[in-house]
Amino acid sequence: MTNPIEIRNLTVAYDKTAVLKDVQFSIPKGSLTGIVGPNGAGKSTLIKAILGLIPKVSGEIKIYGKPYKAKDRLVGYVPQRGSVDWDFPTSALDVVLMGRYGHIGWFKRPGKEDTILAKESLKKVGMDSYANRQISQLSGGQQQRVFLARALVQDAQVYFMDEPFVGVDAATEKAIIQLLTDLKDQGKTVIVVHHDLQTVEEYFDHCILLNKEVIASGVTEEVFTVEQLHQTYGGKLAFLDKGKVMVEQKR
């Protein structure tokens, strides 16, 4: 059986410097994968390159054995929450409906069925009572849930999420991880850019350590080792007791 995601020799560059060098990995179906690495390691770039949002220099990206095409609707995407202007005049339900635009097609408005799906999706993330709320009046965690609901109505097989846990409260973080686990159990494949090393082992069954190139990828127990983390973070690690690790905060 083909893996849902196969990446070979992927190189991406901004201007003249390579941001991703010869990246290569595959991700099995029904897994929950964390992409982990220091700031500037190219984590978001990797996701964007896979989705075709930024051009690649070379390499092969295959989603279910085929070159990725947005029209196949196999992929759902949750961008970073900070990437949009939340003062935009629209409601939570409206944002979720945007996830249906790929299904609706040109020249048509979202129909009744789309609205029902969008409301169901809001319910899944615990936001059904906020459907008509203006998005600027939502908290950071609620905004993140709306973005998640929008990805859910895309009804995709593979989900990419860019730092969904940044700036959210503990309850939202729990709710999101529960949702991701549910997706996994339904046989969907979920890839999450993550930066909190404390929770990697708890949340993800697969893991990619990235610092411009792939340091290691595979099952979390094998990949997430002190030695390989050292290699990924290059001495910027601080070791806490009980073998827990965290990145030194440099601000």
């Binding site: 989705l51 992929v75 995407y77 990437s83 005049p89 629209t90 409206d94 020249f107 929008r150 895309q154």
Partner: protein, 303 residues
């Protein structure tokens, strides 16, 4: 009063009113998107940059054919828009600097050319100077029909692509992820924006056209939190401004239309910023006072 009554009966005035109404509607609607895309100032630059195109159009043909003048305006307007985006993306200059640079350069060249045109034998009767502040009442009926038709067309295209424009304005990256041709849609929107500016300059003038684009949109933002409602309200505000400005300027020869359209739009803006139900400054003050009094009364009861 009698004078106004007679004026309204004149067929040409009715056409002019329909024309400025549609223009205000189209410009209010496209202006809403421009505002949310943070492209308000690009509209201003495009309007100013239309002037050299108008003059070149006149100089090449030697006659005042609106179609030719508008084609000239479109060419230099689009050129200005792309120059701004190119400078902002390819140089170290920021977008606001690029806009300022392009606006003043193109407008300066436009004024130089306009002076030249007026020294030409056919030029001083050309009435090109009315493009600066706009002269809707003086428009001949074929010009008005052209403006009305073009405005109606722009409206239709915007309505057809409403859903896509909404998504690329809110979250262009997600739109790309869905497979929408975002660059093509950006290009289409920019073309619509330039087009509405260009068809508006004869009535409103190059200097103030941007105000008809943006003022109704910022006013409308005060009244609603929904994009579709904002677009409709902004269109209505634009249409009201267009019509009232035209009526005032038709009262006498030589009253420019643009300034009165803009003054009307500005009055609507002040009403909105002060009294809009959810966001108006005075409305908020009254609401706060009522809440405070209610709280005080409740506390009084507790004591």
């Amino acid at each position: 009063m009698e004078q106004i009554g007679q004026m309204l009966l004149a067929a040409n005035t009715q056409w002019v009113l329909i024309g400025t109404l549609l223009l205000g509607l189209a410009s209010g609607i496209l202006g809403s998107f421009a505002l949310l895309r943070k492209q308000s100032l690009i509209g201003d630059a495009v309007a100013h940059a239309a002037l050299p195109g108008i003059c070149i159009g006149f100089m090449l043909t030697g006659e005042r054919s609106l179609i030719i003048l508008l084609i000239g305006a479109t060419v230099t307007g689009l050129l200005a828009a792309y120059c701004i985006q190119y400078i902002a993306s390819a140089s170290i200059l920021k977008e606001d600097t690029a806009i300022c640079l392009i606006l003043s350069t193109f407008f300066g060249v436009g004024i130089v050319l306009l002076t030249k045109v007026q020294q030409m034998p056919s030029g001083n009767k050309s009435g090109l100077d009315s493009f600066i502040f706009g002269q809707a009442a003086g428009m001949v009926s074929s010009d008005v029909k052209l403006m009305a038709g073009a405005a109606a067309l722009l409206l239709m295209v915007t309505i057809i692509f409403f859903k896509e424009f909404k998504l690329i304005t809110f979250d262009a990256e997600f739109a790309k992820g869905l497979g929408l041709p975002v660059s093509a849609l950006n290009f289409l929107f920019m073309t619509l924006l330039v087009a509405v500016v260009v068809i508006g300059i004869q009535a409103v003038g190059v200097i103030l056209m941007a105000a008809l684009l943006i003022t109704p949109a910022i006013s409308a933002r005060y009244w609603t939190n929904s994009l579709s409602k904002m677009v409709i309200i902004s269109g209505i505000f634009g249409a009201i401004s267009g019509v009232i400005g035209t009526l005032i300027s038709s009262l006498d020869r030589g009253i420019p239309t643009g300034p009165f359209i803009v003054v009307t739009a500005t009055i609507i803006f002040f009403i909105s910023i002060l009294f809009a139900p959810a966001r108006g400054i005075i409305t908020l003050k009254i609401k706060r006072r009522m809440t405070n009094q209610k709280l005080l009364r409740e506390q009084g009861q507790v004591k």
